[in-house]
């Protein structure tokens, strides 16, 4: 029986070897992306603080001129997607070969069911998107706004109708079954569950669609689960979307655990040594730099990062700095990346101007620590809670 697969030992007929230098060039690009912060060194560390919008794709940071929303029956929101929306809420760490990207370019493209486009069909006013890629899962989220609630309702109804009329589709060798399932999020919502007909096949996709006032959230999640797991996956996704929905409706702020204070971020307290930090399971130490004084870290509950870090752990001083994550973190007084300088000054009237257009907040009750804000063109573009004597960046 050992010779059973011998017919496959001969080389694949007609297979051409792609040039090695092309493969290496792609590998180099992957490596550069992974190492950007490391290579850039201290300057990059500051850039992470300054570049609050660095998570956004190029050209994605400029707000559009948008019409003012008309009054609606549900909590009124602007047609502009609000600053600080925690769009990646609940996403796990994508790991070293994965990434999370946030921007305003479409993340989904057309979503068709049985040849009929379900989304996007209705003209959108504004959009914020997030894309999660990891070897074991692919997720996207799009939050779009419409000129009024009725238009957003029409967008949701169009989606549900197209998906509901399609029982399944053949995708290459795989037959996929679709069904609609209720999920509890937003003002009205549903999930489209896609699973393989074949019991042996793996690969499921759940799409949660929810309307909050004049905004529509579309969340997709593709993974390697079996058909029996797709409903559970959709329900979990709906739960993860709840903070986004609450933020959109204006009913709730981001969780208190995402508040950045002079002590750090929740249990991640400045000055804690590396081993104790790792033991919390709340962060991932990334790409340690040989001979450097500090390692980078990513806060797991904030989701993964591709080329950046959420802070540094000093070998000498412990947790030395935690940067604000755009769309996730705020100060105790509600200042976020994107807040206006006027809001910052009003919230912290004792904060002092520092070099490079920065604003520095200290407190005698928290000696040796500071929160430094970077302000550009009247907006807070980043901030960091750090030890005064940190040795990780200039």
């Amino acid at each position: 029986m050992a010779d059973l697969l011998d017919a496959l030992r001969t080389p694949e007929p007609g297979l051409t070897l792609p040039p090695a230098d092309e493969v290496r060039r792609r590998g180099d690009r992957l490596r550069r992306r992974r190492r950007t912060w490391q290579v850039a060194g201290a300057a990059a560390a500051v850039a992470v603080v300054v570049g609050g919008g660095a998570l956004l794709g190029a050209g994605d940071t400029t707000p559009r001129d948008l019409p003012v929303t008309r009054p609606s029956t549900t909590p009124p929101i602007s047609t502009a997607v609000p600053s600080g929306l925690p769009i990646t809420s609940g996403w796990p760490d994508p790991g070293g070969d994965g990434s999370i990207r946030v921007g305003r370019t479409p993340a989904l493209g057309d979503i068709p069911y049985c040849g009929r486009t379900a989304y996007p069909v209705v003209e959108q006013a504004d959009r914020l998107t997030a894309r999660y890629e990891a070897p074991a899962g692919f997720r996207t989220r799009e939050v779009t706004t419409y000129v009024d609630v009725a238009t957003a309702r029409r967008a949701l109804t169009t989606f549900r109708t197209a998906a509901g009329r399609c029982q399944g589709a053949q995708e290459g060798p795989t037959a996929t079954r679709y069904r609609i399932s209720p999920v509890p999020v937003g003002d009205e919502s549903f999930a489209v569950l896609a699973s393989p007909e074949e019991a042996k096949a793996i690969g499921i996709e759940s799409i949660v669609v929810a309307r909050i006032g004049n905004a529509l959230m579309v969340s997709t999640h593709s993974g390697e689960g079996a058909a029996g797991q797709v409903e559970q996956q959709a329900n979990a996704d709906a739960r993860d979307l709840a903070p986004v929905a609450r933020f959109l409706s204006g009913r709730e702020d981001t969780p208190s655990s995402d508040v950045l204070t002079l002590d750090g971020a929740g249990d991640l307290r400045l000055g804690t040594n590396r081993d104790d930090l790792v033991a919390t399971g709340q962060l991932t130490v990334v790409t340690p730099v040989a001979h450097a004084a500090c390692d980078g870290l990513v806060v797991n509950r904030w989701g993964g990062l591709e080329n950046e870090v959420d802070g540094f752990v000093s070998h000498r001083y412990g947790l030395a700095a935690v940067f604000a994550r755009p769309g996730v973190t705020r100060t105790p007084k509600g200042i976020r990346v994107g807040s206006s300088e006027a809001e910052l000054r009003a919230a912290y009237p004792t904060a002092e101007d520092a070099s490079g257009g920065r604003v520095r907040l200290t407190d005698p009750n928290h000696p040796g620590r500071n929160i430094t804000f970077t302000v550009e063109h009247g907006k807070v573009t980043g901030f960091v809670a750090a030890l005064d004597n940190q040795d990780c960046y200039d």
Binding site: M1, A2, L4, L5, A7, L8, R9, T10, P11, E12, P13, G14, L15, T16, L17, P18, A20, E22, V23, R24, R26, G27, D28, L30, R31, R34, P92, D93, G95, G96, D97, G98, L108, G109, E133, A134, P135, A136, G137, F138, E171, G172, P173, K200, I202, G203, I204, E205, T220, S222, G223, E224, V278, G281, L283, T284, V285, P288, A290, N300
Partner: protein
């Protein structure tokens, strides 16, 4: 690293935690030799596992690119071919990847598709029969009978207990033999193990 959804980089990440050794890693020449010597073989193995040659080739290319991006630690892994194969397999079986491919242009294809010569009838029959098997059985069979890995090595590469691997091999062989109308269809113990 605290987590690695695919587990595919686990060996490299383990290696990353070790002290840096001067002169470690593959240089360009060594990588090119490794790539040239093993690319076709791994594509064939992955094709047998997943049943789609174009997809297999694409995933193996991507896995080699990732291997090069980790080249500084590649030689210390000890089994770079296993790493590339595992990474390519995990890329290939992920449904999300098909979703991505469907929803965006093939921006990372390293070369356009080319017409290929047809495979022989034995190969076609074998690939068709393999495709009928559950993925786990198929993978175990390919690793054991085509990659010549021991049961223990298959267990290590797939993350399954040795007993599970033996069961998959036994059932897989029986099913495959039946599909090929092979008289040797009775389950038997694992080879090489």
């Amino acid at each position: 690293m605290t987590s690695d959804p695919a587990g595919a980089t686990a060996m490299l990440e383990t290696a990353a935690a070790r002290p840096v050794v001067r002169g470690g890693g593959m240089d360009e020449t060594e990588f090119d030799e490794f790539y040239t010597a093993s690319f076709t073989r791994i594509v064939g193995q992955l094709h047998a596992m997943i049943g789609n040659r174009d997809e297999a080739q694409d995933c193996v290319q991507e896995a080699f690119a990732r291997a090069w991006s980790h080249r500084a630690r590649l030689d210390r892994v000890g089994h770079p071919e296993a790493w590339v194969r595992t990474t390519a397999y995990r890329l290939a079986v992920s449904r999300w990847r098909r979703t991505v491919v469907r929803r965006r242009p093939a921006d990372r294809a390293l070369q356009p598709e080319r017409p290929v010569a047809g495979p022989g009838p034995d190969r076609v029959a074998l690939l068709a029969a393999l495709a009928e098997l559950p993925l786990d059985q198929r993978r175990a069979l390919v690793l054991h009978h085509l990659c010549d890995l021991s049961v223990a090595a298959v267990a290590a590469e797939t993350g399954a207990p040795e007993g599970t691997v033996k069961a998959r091999l036994s059932r897989g062989r029986a099913a495959l033999a039946a599909l090929l109308d092979d008289p040797r269809s009775r389950p038997e113990g694992a080879h090489h193990g």
